[in-house]
Symmetry: C2
Subunit: 306 residues, 2 copies
């Protein structure tokens, strides 16, 4: 029944501030009753046969893709993208970079990781990954962040088999910048994002098997709540929803992760400590940044060359 | 990085209670720290090359599709499905049936509605729908629930052009039963669902243009919170997330709807009263039920023939 109403991420939304020619439909005030944050005024027009939303005074639009693929790749071109895979890819990559690995090279599969490794000298890399929760022959490490200690990874390339995050990095390669976020590095990522005013921020929940994961949404909600404090920030429905979810659970994040579908599974196969570790907030001052399909430690916060 | 871990709605999950042959991986306790509800124990095994989750003591599994298409049609076959399109299809259909219309025939488009109408005598039906928020030539009513008063619809068929809800009804035609839910009839739907123990309940957020809508998720969260009180209910990640979101916003549902992307739009084009009306909770004692692609008023709660 709903008519073609514009929203963040929709192809019918044009966020540029140039003047519009068109029939004005109405003007509304956007507020965030459950999520905090600022309110902006929004005007709807028809222009060149499409419905156009003109949001005034919004210097940073914050959107969340709650389910893999919800945001189309074409909609990230002026955006900074944060890929969130709390259990455990984002947390492991962040930990490895904090422990001074040179870079992380994500691979979509065990096989692709082996192919990538064949291009390097054996002493220059460590190979990480699991097959259905079990160690893989010839691999140095599994998927647990605890394994990526300084003594194991410092100065080396980490070639990491990790399906969800790798797919997201490939899908959204056209973004202004892609960084990796989790609870561990929340403050660092938020400080980095604050420097990207006048850009959209899209928080991508990596999910699992194309479905929603609560741990990724809670982390996106933490970020959305933080960004809502930026003057002129405007949150989409999904950003407000994630923020509300996080507000409700913020005093029991560890319990929420231990009670999540994937957390229950990981604990059942002996990785309960991993889940508790991944629930720790802002303990690592590292922003992993995707550069040429590798993940490196961002040298300084905000926009930077390369 | 995550391995193939089972979850509600995944094709690798087998919820039958027959004994499994397979390698046991582990056992976990599932709880709902932010959403209330009961906890169940869950066991993971490999059987016939796939990972299988055996949840014990869960008499009703509750899942939420937060984004259109997130739950595959094949996964609803043993499920009762609630289609939720708060602004405004679900609310309008519920209102029309409460005002004694004979049945609602949903159509995917204005054109399909006209085709359906051509099969009936002019006095037997009213034709409802809008094109981009504007009245349609030859149509009796728009999309506002306020228009579906007893004097307009009593004893008649309502042929209603409504894209999102109609697509959901077609996509999930294989379900045990499909009912229409919104805030207006929440108590009635919950009482009806309570009679479906030993079935899965899937709450489908209709969304907008294939994207998430907060008003549908909040309503799904209200339902999920209610169902969580059922002994033996087990909530998926998305059901817990929707419940947490609703818990956070439950004292300001009208504000949340007025602040939603679609609510802001509707208010800007003069339908603010519709949004406020759709936020009213449990004021109509009607459960609309899909039967043979029409929507009728459910005669009694719980499982019934046809």
């Amino acid at each position: 029944m709903a008519s073609a109403q514009p929203r963040f991420g929709s192809s019918s939304v044009d966020y540029t501030s140039r003047p519009f020619q068109g029939r004005m439909l109405g003007t509304g005030l956007r507020s965030h009753p459950c999520a905090g944050g600022t309110a902006g005024s929004v005007t709807y027009l028809y222009s060149e046969s499409k419905l156009v939303e003109v949001e005034r005074g919004a210097a940073m639009r914050v959107d969340v893709s709650l389910v893999p693929g919800e945001v189309a790749a074409k909609d990230v071109q002026n955006a900074v993208v944060v890929v969130i895979d709390v259990l455990r890819a984002s947390s492991t990559i962040t930990t490895a970079l904090a422990n001074s690995c040179e870079e992380v090279i994500p691979a979509e599969s065990i096989e692709e990781a082996i192919t990538i490794a064949s291009g390097y000298a054996r002493l220059d890399y460590v190979l990480g990954g699991e097959r259905r929760g079990l160690a893989v022959d010839g691999f140095d490490l599994g998927n647990s962040p605890y394994e990526y200690s300084e003594s194991k990874v410092a100065g080396k390339k980490v070639i990491l088999a990790t399906t969800n995050g790798t797919l997201a990095v490939k899908r959204y390669g056209g973004a202004k910048e892609i960084v990796i976020g989790c609870f561990l590095n929340a403050d660092a990522v938020l400080r980095s994002l604050a420097a990207w005013r006048d850009h959209d921020v899209i928080l991508l929940c990596a999910g699992q098997d194309e479905r929603f994961c609560i741990e990724d949404a809670l982390c996106a909600g933490l970020y959305a709540s933080g960004l809502a404090q930026t003057p002129g920030a405007a949150l989409s429905d999904s950003a407000r929803a994630a923020a509300a979810m996080h507000e409700r659970c913020k005093d029991s994040i560890e319990d929420a992760l231990m009670g999540s579908d994937h957390g229950v599974y990981l604990a059942s196969v002996g990785f309960g400590d991993d889940v508790r570790y991944c629930a720790r907030q802002s303990v690592l001052d590292v922003v992993p940044k995707v550069y040429d399909r590798r993940v490196i430690r961002k040298a300084r916060l905000g926009p930077e060359e390369s």
